[in-house]
């Protein structure tokens, strides 16, 4: 499957895929993918199940490291993010990812939201509380779970992980 997505110019794009090939062992999952993803826009990848959408997205976040072999270039703001020298954690702080299947951690709802903030270096309790409050309002869940923040997140199936960092 050759894929060409050349809507905008490369200079207007934040993420550019150049001749990307992805292999699981000997099996090829993505062949010669070339695509530009324009800045400040929402781009949707569509395709039948098993066509490699997730595999491709995982690669942008370097979540395929050690699982699949990715060839070619994925250029993010002028850098090839497939470069082994790239610090994947800094990359993941800049490019977030939500999964198909929600996977809350076995902690309270509040902890689920607070842990990524703390891990990202925010240790200001008041600020964390404020951000969580803001996010809950943003997604209009403050009434539904606002009072249950200390209950286990596993019993609520409300959307995906706290991928808002």
């Amino acid at each position: 499957m050759d894929t060409y997505l050349n809507l905008p110019e490369e200079k207007d794009s934040d993420i550019v895929a150049k001749d990307v090939n992805i292999y699981y062992g000997k099996q090829q999952a993505i062949a010669n993918c070339n695509a530009n993803f324009p800045r400040h826009q929402i781009t949707a990848l569509i395709g039948p199940s098993g066509s490699g959408k997730s595999t491709f997205l995982h690669s942008i976040n370097r979540m395929n490291d050690g699982i699949a072999r990715v060839e070619g270039e994925l250029v993010y703001q002028g850098q090839n993010l497939l470069d082994p020298k790239v610090n994947v954690y800094n990359l993941r702080h800049q490019i977030g990812m939500l999964f198909q299947k929600p996977m809350p951690f076995a902690k309270s709802i509040y902890e689920n939201l607070a842990l990524p903030l703390r891990e990202a270096g925010n240790h200001n309790q008041a600020d964390i509380a404020k951000r969580i409050d803001r996010v809950l309002k943003m997604v209009d869940l403050q009434h539904e779970i606002g009072k249950d923040l200390n209950k286990s997140a596993l019993h609520y199936q409300v959307g995906s992980n706290s991928g808002f960092v």
Binding site: R92, F99, M103, K107, L115, S152
Partner: protein
């Protein structure tokens, strides 16, 4: 004879045999408890074996060895289990080699582990019959079992949890220690408690490492370097299980039987306690944090 009749007869036999075996086991345990209860009194628990045929020092030695053994083996087993389940590529040759080796280690007869400890610790490293030799030998015995049980608990956490943590930009190490480990904790605790039960009752590993004598301890002396101090790790230390074995092979007559019966009650109560705690972790706690 039609199949319904066969079914009736066979299920009847299954129920009957189970009932008989269960009654037998119950009688066995009740016998052990009942026959030993009379031997247990305050004097039995608080005197040394030389002075009053008590088991005070053996009880302390058992608990002290258990504590030391778990302190040494837990961090190592935890790390090894993490490496096996979360770091090593599971399809690789190395993974199956490592797992095979640990499986072999976990199924070695404990007398072999004891002899290895005797050879390496007592003779080669010149540690003598001592608490430290015993604790290390018990660690050899405990490590593979604990590693395997922790690995099973870690495997119970879905792979997607790791993916979620990484995608949030959390380091692999913190994803493991702050997210995966807490979720696996009930299973890990239950594994620790079960292994503690095995360590507590283990004797074959200890007879040639911690030794078969229990010098009378002075419980007012907490200087770890003093030979009479309970904390001293270079003194020989007979445990409860070794005590039962020794008094019966040296045959001290009636006293041996009485002392053994009393000791057995203590051992069984401790094992029962451990089982209950393990059950608590694996059911109640898992319900609280589990998926």
């Amino acid at each position: 004879m039609n199949r319904y009749r066969v079914n009736q007869i066979m299920t009847g036999i299954l129920n009957g045999v189970t009932l008989l075996v269960v009654l037998f086991i119950a009688a066995f345990i009740l016998y052990l408890l009942a026959s030993g209860m009379t031997a247990i009194n305050w004097r039995f628990l608080t005197t040394s074996s030389e002075v009053g045929l008590g088991i005070r020092d053996q009880l302390f030695n058992s608990l002290y060895l258990l504590l030391l053994t778990q302190l040494i083996s837990l961090p190592i087993a935890l790390g090894a289990a993490m490496a096996l389940t979360l770091y090593v590529d599971k399809r690789s040759k190395f993974a199956s080699f490592a797992q095979g080796l640990i499986q072999i280690l976990s199924s070695l007869p404990s007398i072999i582990v004891g002899l290895f400890g005797f050879l390496i610790l007592v003779l080669k490293f010149n540690l003598g019959f001592s608490i430290i030799s015993g604790a290390l030998a018990l660690t050899f015995f405990n490590l593979p079992i604990l590693t395997q049980s922790i690995a099973v608990s870690l495997q119970g956490v879905p792979d997607e949890v790791m993916q979620s943590g990484l995608a949030l930009g959390i380091s692999k190490w913190h994803t493991i220690t702050k997210i995966i480990l807490p979720e696996a904790m009930p299973g890990i605790w239950s594994g620790i408690v079960i292994s503690a039960g095995r360590v507590f009752g283990e004797a074959a590993t200890l007879i040639y490492t911690a030794g078969q004598s229990a010098p009378t301890l002075d419980y007012t002396n907490w200087n770890p370097l003093n030979p009479a101090s309970p904390l001293n790790i270079f003194r020989p230390a007979e445990t409860l299980a070794v005590h039962i074995w020794k008094v019966n092979t040296e045959s001290l007559g009636q006293d041996a039987a009485t002392v053994s019966r009393g000791t057995i009650v203590i051992l069984i109560l401790v094992v029962l306690l451990f089982n209950l705690v393990a059950r608590y972790f694996s059911t109640t706690m898992r319900k609280k944090v589990g998926r």
